[in-house]
Symmetry: none
Subunit: 199 residues, 4 copies
């Protein structure tokens, strides 16, 4: 009655791990999500398929790790705070938009997105490890804005974040329009000012 023995992480080959992650990012950037295969990644990484299956439970979790590697390396610990909320938000969102111009980043993020959309467990992992920490950073900046009187006290921060970042993410995913700096600025300005007429 032999049960699947869990692999011993202490014996894991760091070389192989890095090669796999790098190959995944490279490949997804080259051929796109649809044509991405475990077999292809293993081959490109010079690695046996089993080595991938041993350490990742699904293509999604591999893609997720790969994306973390790609995104996490130059990650800011906090959002800029120059005292001008609008300017800071535009800065951050413009940088996001610029990143999505890099096909590697664009494709990797699309791939991860697809996996998340279809896998609730992976989505939970994503929320926990990537979305929540990022939101915390954003909230921090918004709270500072509240303290500085630039943001209404009674605004629900979660909603504020969704309203600032959601439109950009959607326009990128669905290609409903061009992702320009101008659009980013409009979103920030409109969100801050609100849709209602001001007296």
């Amino acid at each position: 009655m032999s049960t699947k023995v869990a692999p011993d992480p202490s014996r894991r080959s760091e070389t192989a791990r890095r090669a796999i992650l790098a190959a995944a990012i490279d490949l997804v950037g080259e051929v796109g999500y649809t044509k991405l295969s475990i077999e292809g990644i293993a081959h490109a990484a010079g690695v046996g398929k089993q080595t991938i299956y041993r350490w990742w439970s699904s293509k999604g979790s591999l893609l997720f790790d790969a994306f973390l590697t790609l995104a996490g390396e130059g990650e800011a610990a906090a959002l800029p705070d120059t005292g001008d909320l609008a300017a800071d938000l535009k800065l951050v969102l413009r940088a996001t938009v610029d990143e999505l111009d890099d096909p590697r980043y664009d494709q990797a993020m699309r791939a991860m997105h697809v996996e998340i959309v279809n896998d609730p467990i992976l989505a939970a992992d994503y929320v926990l490890r990537l979305d929540r920490p990022m939101r915390e950073l954003k909230k921090e900046r918004l709270r500072a804005a509240q303290r500085a009187g630039q943001l209404a006290e009674d605004v629900e921060l979660e909603v504020a974040i969704d309203m600032l970042f959601g439109p950009i993410l959607n326009r990128w995913l669905q290609r409903t329009g061009p992702l320009t700096h101008e659009y980013v600025d409009q979103v920030v300005d409109t969100a801050l000012r609100g849709l209602q007429p001001r007296p």
Copy 2:
């Protein structure tokens, strides 16, 4: 030296077409996007695979048509206009959120979404045939609100729409939080009022 002759639409079997679209929707609701296969759809529809390949160029475009069938049947010609913009928006967005509770609708929309994210051509088709008409309806309502003095004159309507609908779509796709009526109301209220403090 002609390759692949285009099929004659006048000889198309309406029975088969309907069976395929229905089977696609049913199947994606049952097994989800990941396990969805052309073979499975053909079998469930009692149809030869070739009949699918003859009329649809990709799984994406089939899913797109299937979704149109599902969504288009009860389609409103215009957004409600009771004179109260906030109430009308909440009504529409709550209905959207409720629709996404139906696993069939939820799964079909996820499937279509995945295809669109990875296929720019399909995305263009989506924008043209589904997104743009819907936006036009929304813009119409917003213009009425402008005339009624409930919406600022200088607001860019595209941005307004993205700010109202984007957050809901994102929360649903990425499961970053529960899709409740309360959340919908918060989004509408916050978007209208704006993030800045009011004097």
Copy 3:
């Protein structure tokens, strides 16, 4: 209770019939038996598939008819009789061997052969309509030889024919050796003289 109505031969299109048989022969000569398809024949003949299915019950019987058309046109009514049996047999067999050099003839005959090998009913038809009449001609010549004292009285003519024509047919089918005039001559000479030493 409508039963498949038999087609009326008097209304049959002779043009179509000829085009089909010609296309079958041409195609089998071009692409070989393996790649031969009813669809391809119909297309090459400029004919609907149904017209083939209406008049022939199987690919085999079509091929059989096609072969008859090809072979029957220059068919001799009787074997030559110069008084010299060996010479006459060699003449006939050399002509047979030469015919098999024409790829059209070779391929058509292979195709028909394959169908016959796997379809006893077709084989019976072949024996009745092609093999038996040909054998009768051959027997006639052999009987003449018996009368002329060139063939033993007690030889079973069926066996004699098999022994003269069988080796050539086999060598052609299985390519166990080159089909030369020299080989033909050896077969005739050996068959006539017998394998046993003569006193």
Copy 4:
């Protein structure tokens, strides 16, 4: 830039190989050549299709191997030599005829035959691996007969073999007549004695 890497025979599964060969023989015996499919063989053998395509280049070569397995197991190393050539030949040919009564053997041999007739490369392989060795055995027996004065010295052995075995093979393939022991005896007697009258 290497295409299609050749598989490593040392890692080949003997179990799978045997199952495939056995399934091929069984299936061809059950359903006949026409209905025989790679898919069917794979299924019956409990094997993936790829495993067949990995090791055999065509249905023909698989059928050839299968036939070798079937035929090769009870293979005589040499033809009997009792000193009486006619009797020995009749013995061997009667045994051949009897084998063809077994539907498995009959169908398998028809299948292989069809493939050989339409594939020159396979035919060459057949000649090399099956026909030539068998002929060598037969020649050996005929040479012994020549030494014993039962066969003319100047007879071309290839021709002699074709004249003895060809008629039987043809009658079996084309079903031009019943394959009886009596017929076999007639062929042997007639071939030995020759068609010409004896003084």
